[in-house]
């Protein structure tokens, strides 16, 4: 109970900081995790912390189910561009799934890191359940997911503009695909259409990554 309350307190504080200074690097999850890392401190206290917060993590599963409701609410916004939307989300998801672990391997990262990096663009809620099916530890995956979110949110709009992507809808879709919720929060600044496309892209790319992983990971030796 103590660890759960401390986690809640850290998260609420971090969220208040984010609401005051909304920037990719003041992401509430990243801030809360940083504070809790100091509080938990040593590796030997980690098991105790994880046992104490099991209920919170358990709630993640019904929350992922609830994403189906969010999908349903936003699906109307993509109807006009459904083909291009799915093509972009699919291409982006496949690229992240294959290119990221290969880059890490070329740079000498061990297999555990390569596997975790394969899921770097998947929203944490889905990544926590998906990663273990493919030999990746969620504890290693989630921090990489957050780092990816921060980077994509910071770089996404200028990079996409330079590539010739100008319509808010497609900016949002690419940000949601590459950088899940953190990218979607940045997309919101480009207007409601970008926000809806980002939220939808985040859930759809999680699903597509889940479907593609068994097909694309074995050929690169991560089956």
């Amino acid at each position: 109970m103590g660890w759960t309350l401390l986690t809640l307190a850290a998260y609420l504080t971090a969220r208040a900081v984010y609401r005051r200074w909304p920037r990719p690097w003041t992401n509430p999850v990243a801030l809360a995790v940083a504070v809790l890392l100091v509080a938990v401190g040593r590796t030997d206290a980690l098991a105790d912390y994880q046992a104490g917060t099991r209920v919170l993590v358990w709630l993640l599963k019904p929350a992922v189910v609830a994403l189906g409701y969010a999908l349903h609410r936003e699906v109307r916004t993509v109807a006009r561009h459904a083909g291009r939307f799915l093509a972009g989300v699919g291409l982006g998801s496949a690229t992240s799934l294959v290119a990221t672990p290969l880059l890490a391997r070329a740079l000498g990262a061990p297999e555990a890191l390569q596997r975790a990096l394969a899921f770097k663009s998947v929203t944490s809620g889905i990544a926590v359940d998906l990663a273990p099916l493919h030999g990746a530890d969620p504890a290693l995956t989630v921090p990489l997911v957050i780092l990816t979110g921060i980077l994509g949110a910071a770089l996404g709009v200028p990079v996409l503009r330079a590539l010739g992507v100008r319509r808010p809808f497609f900016l949002g879709a690419a940000l949601g695909t590459a950088s899940h919720g953190i990218g979607t929060a940045r997309a919101a600044e480009e207007g409601p259409e970008a926000l809806a496309a980002g939220g939808l892209a985040m859930a759809v790319s999680g699903l597509i990554t889940g479907l593609l992983a068994p097909l694309l990971l074995p050929p690169i030796g991560l089956g």
Partner: protein, 107 residues
């Protein structure tokens, strides 16, 4: 009361999803549950049946994966030893993903 009923409905879809995961594999049960809930809503399940609990869960979702993130503590040495590779893979990988996802939206 509506919250309790909608939570039960979400729980039901989750259980169905877990069942599908047992039979078909491929995706985790929660993700199958997401697909089933989406399809049910598309096919006419009234939003109100799941809306109160779904809204609450979605609003607090970020809190639920904070403890998982704290687990990175066990990986401190690995991440520090390969910090350069991780930074480059995440950085380049994110740029490539953005480009691949954005390509269809040019112009």
């Amino acid at each position: 009361m509506r919250l309790v009923l909608s939570a039960a409905a979400i729980g039901g879809f989750w259980l169905l999803g877990e069942g599908l995961a047992r039979v078909l594999g491929l995706l985790p049960g929660s993700l199958w549950g997401m697909v089933l809930l989406f399809l049910a809503l598309r096919l006419g399940l009234p939003e109100g049946w799941v809306a109160p609990a779904a809204g609450l869960l979605l609003r607090w979702m970020a809190l639920f994966f904070v403890p998982v993130g704290v687990g990175v503590l066990a990986y401190g040495p690995v991440l520090i030893a390969h910090a350069g590779a991780v930074a480059a893979a995440v950085g380049l990988g994110t740029l490539l993903t953005l480009a691949a996802a954005g390509l269809v939206g040019r112009g």
